[in-house]
């Protein structure tokens, strides 16, 4: 039995896994750890270098994609399971394994991918940029956002922001890693505390005006809202403080609508277009 300590990143796992696979190490002969307390034991780059090229083992690209995403999950069991699936797919002879959603390991991997995918999706949805200034030289607007993902997804999630917000400068701050875009390149820095991010934007009020008025009090469905926008995200959403009030007053608003006197139809005003429309309608009537 050997212990492999890796940095909690896909690339580090991949280098170690490739090495182990080349040596035909069985999955149950390895203990995996990504405990930062043991950082001194991280498997080094030299391991990669020692890799004999001829030993390249074919791995389905679908697996690599899934592994990349599962690796971003925070479950500490992921490294061992990913290696086991890798081993089964290759030396284990179960090349078809990924077609078996009914397999325990595959299912687990899919669950992690799904959780990570959802986390990325929610980050794309719930990041809120706040304007902090305009670059004096380039004239580009500069925005900062704060977000707390469940998993280590910043690098997986930011290509989306690069494509969508290429024309402005932005930083997305999270507790474990921050991403920055200046119009030319993306770069990453260490995580920061929430207090580093601005918590208001001048537009937030107008946004809340919109949110309040697009809500239809006649169709309250709170559980539908919460399943898609769980409460844990609310603290960073400028519109969330309105929710309780909107729900509380909805019944009364509907009562008001029902109690309101019905209005009779008003005759058509004189308007050439409307007249032509009425003529057309009469012509088409059977």
């Amino acid at each position: 039995m050997r212990t492999i300590v890796v940095k909690p990143e896909y690339e580090a796992w991949r280098a170690a896994a490739r090495h182990l696979l080349a040596q035909r190490v069985m999955p149950d002969e390895v203990l995996w750890s990504d405990d930062p307390q043991e950082a001194s034991l991280f498997v080094g780059e030299d391991l990669l270098a020692k890799q004999p090229a001829s030993e390249a083992i074919k791995v389905p690209s679908a697996f690599m994609d899934m592994a990349k995403s599962a690796a971003a999950h925070t479950d500490s069991k992921r490294w061992a399971l990913l290696y086991r699936v890798l081993w089964r797919l290759t030396l284990g002879g179960e090349r078809y394994l990924l077609s078996m959603a009914t397999d325990r390991d595959v299912r687990q991997m899919q669950d992690w991918c799904k959780a990570v995918g959802r986390d990325i999706h929610k980050m794309h949805a719930f990041v809120r940029f706040r304007l902090v200034g305009v670059d004096a030289v380039t004239g580009r607007e500069q925005f900062v956002a704060w977000f707390e993902p469940d998993h280590r997804i910043v690098r997986l999630a930011v290509p989306f922001f690069e494509k969508r917000f290429a024309g402005m400068d932005w930083s997305i701050l999270t507790p474990y890693e921050c991403a920055h875009w200046d119009g030319k390149r993306l770069h990453f820095t260490e995580g920061v505390a929430c207090s580093s991010a601005p918590d208001e934007d001048a537009l937030d009020d107008l946004w809340r005006t919109y949110y309040r008025n697009i809500f239809n009090p006649a169709r309250v469905k709170i559980s539908a809202m919460q399943s898609e926008m769980p409460k844990k995200y609310w603290k960073n959403l400028p519109e969330a403080p309105l929710i309780a009030g909107l729900i509380a007053e909805s019944a009364e608003r509907v009562q008001g609508m029902l109690a309101k006197e019905e209005r009779p139809a008003k005759p058509a005003p004189k308007n050439a277009y409307l007249e032509s429309l009425h003529r057309m309608n009469q012509d088409e009537a059977p």
Partner: protein, 429 residues
Amino acid sequence: MNITRKLEILADAAKYDASCASSGAARKDSRGSTGVGSTGGSGICHSYTPDGRCVSLLKVLMTNACLYDCHYCINRRSSNVIRARFTPDEVVQLTLDFYKRNYIEGLFLSSGIIRSADHTMELVIEVARKLREEHHFRGYIHLKTIPEASQALIAKAGRYADRISINVEMPTQQGLNTLAPEKNLARTEEAMGHIREKIDERYAEKRKPEAPKPPPFATGQSTQMLVGADASTDAVILGCANKLYTAHRLKRVYYSAFSPIPEPSVILPLKAPPLIREHRLYQADWLLRFYDFKVEEIASAAAPNLDLALDPKLAWALRNRETFPVDVNKAPREMLLRIPGLGVRNVERIVSARRYTRLRLADLIRLRLQMKKLLPFIITADHHPAKLGLDSDSLRARFLPPPEQLELNFDAPPAPVASDFLSVRSGEL
């Protein structure tokens, strides 16, 4: 009137349009430009309001003044609401400001009809033109069009928009005659036909390798039907939807249970339909589009309305119990799709896994299928239920919601449960 007040009025006026999709657009993004915006991925809901609806687009009207008198609509000319009107620049600025803060992923612009159809369309198009040409905005744009607007203007709208739509509102002209006297079903369908041709053209040109770039045009059209404001049965509603899907290849038909509005009209029914009806229609719509069901199988002339207590696939299975149980290890895909509780994704998983193993119940449990619903309808390597010999009532009773809910709603359908809500947006079964 300041911008906040205008936004209050013109967002309030727009909220009855259920459409919120922002997917299915062509791939484009802002890299290399000075603007912002991207489309082409799956749609993103940037927020949810307590009505359970997703907020993905800034959905507003250009103006809520309107010449028409559609009785279900808060903006009709007989209504006493305060009227407001945006300038094109105000909408442009709001869209960009909201977009840059990642509140939204685009604009859904519609308008009350003022002066004439063409005049109104021009106002709406001007906003889209400015966004695209002056601000290099690459985000999602959905424009509502008017069937009576000129072809040239619809072509122009399609050039800037990712999606365009015309609401049919009612499945029959009879319904329109009473509730929306200015609107005409035949003209709406004709306009949808023209839009379809332009969309088809775009795709056909794209396939030819040597062809010049097709004229840019929206990638899809959708529509909305109001449910419960007239006497149309579900069979009529689904029949109309089916016709629109096949004849004009609509991307989506939205069903909107008519709900009470401020400024009610004397012509409208007093009672709003139960929201669960809208939900069942979405489920039925899903069956038509992804499960190969025919309208007659879901809602027939003999039983024209959906069973509000059961999902339409389960209801179909109970009416066709001689078809079951189905062997998940052997049955063709079309048959698997008919099993209550089995969705498209899990059918794919089953088809792919059964090439390598004989599926047992434990395998299905690992797929997290709804076993209670599934069990009477399937055969696995280790499970073989008796033919569905139970008399119809007791088998149906098995799937009904718990009795306390029925009691609470003595003459109304059972209250929708959380899982109904979960799928109401997607209509997934």
